[in-house]
Amino acid sequence: MAPFGVAFGIASTEAGLAVWQASAFSVLVFTGSAQFAAVGVIGDGGTAISAVAAGALLNLRSLAFGVVMASALQGPWWKRAVWSQLMIDESTAVGSAQSDLRLRRYGYVWGGIAVFVAWNISTLVGAAALSSSGDLVADWGIDAAIPAVFLALVWPRLADRGQLRSALLGAVIALAVLPIAPPGVPILAAGIGVVAGWRDQSGATAAADDNQPAEEPAL
């Protein structure tokens, strides 16, 4: 997970963000794939709206995590508000593995905090490291690292047929729209790709663990 955070820090500064902005993303948004998507659109010169939309669409699944964890997160509204910030693949996976509600909450909260700390430290390291480097693109092929990160993120999802079809159609739409649309829009248009996978969707949450893309799905 830490290398993933470092990658985000690097991708952010590569896209023109200041170190504090990269850190702020990891603290406030705290969801890997949404952060990468938003920063990717910014780096391509997309509008703020497309960047937010891309990230927000990727984050819709947080709604599902919330439903899974809601019964364990009982308490005063302000506590629930704070706990909600930790709602990611990892914390939900750890939390939902318990059967006792209190243990679910502990698993969720402490799992979430552990990831939060690691994610933020690694983002800072990645962002700070890059800001003092030379021409990383031409010499080190850093511009190929970004597609590699996205590929690693989508890879576990391709095992599910509905998601595979959605991915393929999404990719085709994005490429078709690319020459004629402003930056960021091809990504959003690719969302239509979900129609290809709609019928195959079994209803089970096949969400990949987006903080450790090369490993088994968390849920």
Binding site: A18, F25, A70, G141, I142
Partner: protein, 100 residues
Amino acid sequence: MTATVVLIGLTLCTYACKAAAPLVLGGRPLPENLGRLADLLPAALLAALVVVSALADDGAVVADARLVGLGAAATALTLKAPFVVVVVAASAATAVARAI
């Protein structure tokens, strides 16, 4: 400036999704279609991000050394390499392809 606007906007949207169930829904299930959408969207969007980041160059589709890197990444992923190896392999392969 754009980045800060995106930061604020995305934080609000993200938090709304994360907190909706604990704060508002209170254990009620999501409509089934919303759940399906939330599951399929990342696949479509991430795939789009792969191809756009690998092939776009100033609004045109351009096949260059990045594709070599993407191929290296795909190979590494097929071989179940850890994340670091996947990314380093992609960067290295692209750098080498450019040097040749």
